[in-house]
Symmetry: C2
Subunit: 341 residues, 2 copies
DNA sequence: CTGAAAGCGCTTACAG
DNA sequence: CTGAAAGCGCTTACAG
């Protein structure tokens, strides 16, 4: 059923149907009611292609994801979709992992569909692709890049509140020697996050010991490798922060394999609070990054540009907070350490 | 840059540009080369809206997901997207969890965008929505419903091979008493899956004991509740199959809380092999359901309809296979049980 | 082998 | 307050 059919049935022009459909006040109430009746009876569904072609607005937002199987992302996607559905927006999903051309292909496809905005959920979006988007006046929202521009907003993660809570909590438990397993060495986000760790460490009056700070890769394997190096030190840390939950989970398992009781012999703190953080044994103490808030920020960021796609974007920030579970506990004074004095 | 501009630059009509762009052989090679040069130089990106409006083909596939945060789905979505990208198809994602109108809104939105097909990744798609899709000649592929029709294919999961392997494996380990924690009682898939369990049980010559078969809900909580009932029996099972990994993980944690050593005192077998199955402690023995194969089947199912959206669909089947990890081990003869004789 | 023309289903100035 | 008309950027018979 096309708008033309509705118009014929209601005895008006398509112009009027279109106005009624979009709730324009420029229509006589009686006429509007008649049209609405026909619209409902026929269960009219508009043609998004025609509407988009004519108006230049598709109400589609593109979502560029690094790797949807990383449990951090589905929760954001879900919330984002939920908000989008409420506002009659669509989501076009592109996963860029394993695509040889990086973001290039994704963006090309998104441009084909004239999306109204793109949420880029990767820490390393490539410059060329972003330029293509800018050239076509398509607004973007990025993750933790902290760079703004025309049609470009950013959603940053502020780990400091959670880190500071975590340090105070560890201090209470008697910990003094705090380690850190970071993200991939090359990435800006890794550097920033490590900075936050050091800042919180100092704030609590803990010593900054460079041998306690290792790089990871945001994955299970990196966490496992790094904690092995830390636990093998002569005077190892008694508690360890990590750059994300995957790293913490890797560290947790590796420590267990080495014979440590996590939460007793060694305390481990994650970051993100993915759903599986409470499924590990012991359940993971972590810094929660609210996924609903992230999703809301991304949506707001894109929505903000509305009809002015080239206005300067805004910086949004989402804070973390400490969630205490069982992978942390009182600092343990090792018996063999005492006896060796 | 529109096609009109390309035509002007190349000194031909838009008809010719269109033909060249789509690789039609009806164009003189010299002309084609000239057009291709302009196409490349200008980095022409077609307008999907205009193309779709005119041709009736969008190359967009809709994906209807129950809950993207259930780790079973992202892996399918990822593979599906990867195949789609290769074939220049788009994915429009709709998550139906928490949407009051169930699939209704999702389908309405998908109809607005004239998607070429819809993959429905939920065990309970509502009839009305499917009828709407059928009425609009939009092909569908469903998950484990085992019903075909015009424009309707199905991807079934065959758990028997994995179940049978699992039974033989348990038999070797000396187990005789095998329990099962199923899915949500109402759903057809739960009934089917339980049937497969019983079939495999008999095939291995194990006794079918109704008190060993409990319902779950495909979630952590259901698995936890059910295993508590099983372990409290006078003569409890020594090994337990589950309807999915989430159920198994819930069971694993609950058993541990009750003081059981999983893999020693009690063996637990999951189903799916989600990524986190190897992250539990102990790592989960499970029946793997290949997600790449599932995704491929869904894509093929939709692709199959091509230009005949109303032809009768096909039944696809994906088999499971046993993956042995640490949540299973030799059957234990309980000391107190022996002494109580 | 190539182009002029119609038309997909809408929206939106414009005229009345 | 309402409608006729143009046009968004393509594709596709049709004619030559």
């Amino acid at each position: 059923m096309r708008m033309t059919d509705i118009a014929r049935l209601a005895g008006v022009s398509t112009s009027t149907v279109s106005r009624v459909f979009h709730g324009s006040p420029l229509v006589n109430e009686e006429t509007a009611q008649r049209v609405r009746a026909v619209l409902n009876d026929s269960r009219y569904i508009p043609d998004g292609l025609a509407r988009g072609l004519k108006s230049g607005i598709t109400n589609i937002y593109g979502l560029v994801i690094t790797d949807i199987t990383n449990p951090f992302f589905p929760e954001i996607v879900k919330e984002f979709e939920s908000i989008a559905a409420e506002r009659s927006r669509e989501i076009m999903l592109t996963n860029i992992d394993f695509h040889k051309n990086g973001m290039g292909d994704s963006v090309r496809r998104l441009l084909t569909w004239k999306v109204d905005g793109v949420a880029i959920l990767t820490s390393n979006p490539d410059r060329r692709s972003m330029d293509d988007l800018t050239a076509n006046s398509i607004p973007m929202a990025t993750l933790d890049r902290r760079l703004l521009g025309p049609g470009l907003s950013d959603i940053a993660v502020d780990n400091l509140p959670g880190m500071i809570q975590g340090m105070a909590y560890l201090d209470n438990l008697g910990h003094k020697k705090i380690g850190y397993i970071g993200g991939l060495p090359g990435e800006a986000i890794s550097k920033h996050r490590r900075g936050e760790f050091i800042h919180a460490l100092k704030k609590q009056g803990f010593a900054v010991r460079s041998e306690y700070i290792k790089a990871g890769d945001f994955r299970i394997s990196g966490g496992a490798a790094a904690i092995q190096e830390l636990l093998v030190l002569n005077d190892p840390p008694t508690a360890i922060f990590t750059a994300n939950d995957m790293t913490a989970i890797g560290a947790l398992h590796a420590a267990q394999k080495m014979g440590y009781k996590v939460g007793e012999d060694i305390s481990i703190i994650g970051l993100d609070d993915i759903a599986f953080a409470e499924m590990t044994t012991p359940a993971l103490t972590t810094l929660r990054l609210s996924r609903p808030r992230m999703a809301r920020a991304f949506f707001d960021a894109l929505d903000y540009f509305g009809s002015r796609p080239s206005s300067i974007g805004q910086q949004y920030t989402v804070k973390t907070s400490l969630v205490i579970r069982d992978s942390t506990g009182p600092a343990k004074v090792k018996k063999n350490q005492r006896s060796s004095r």
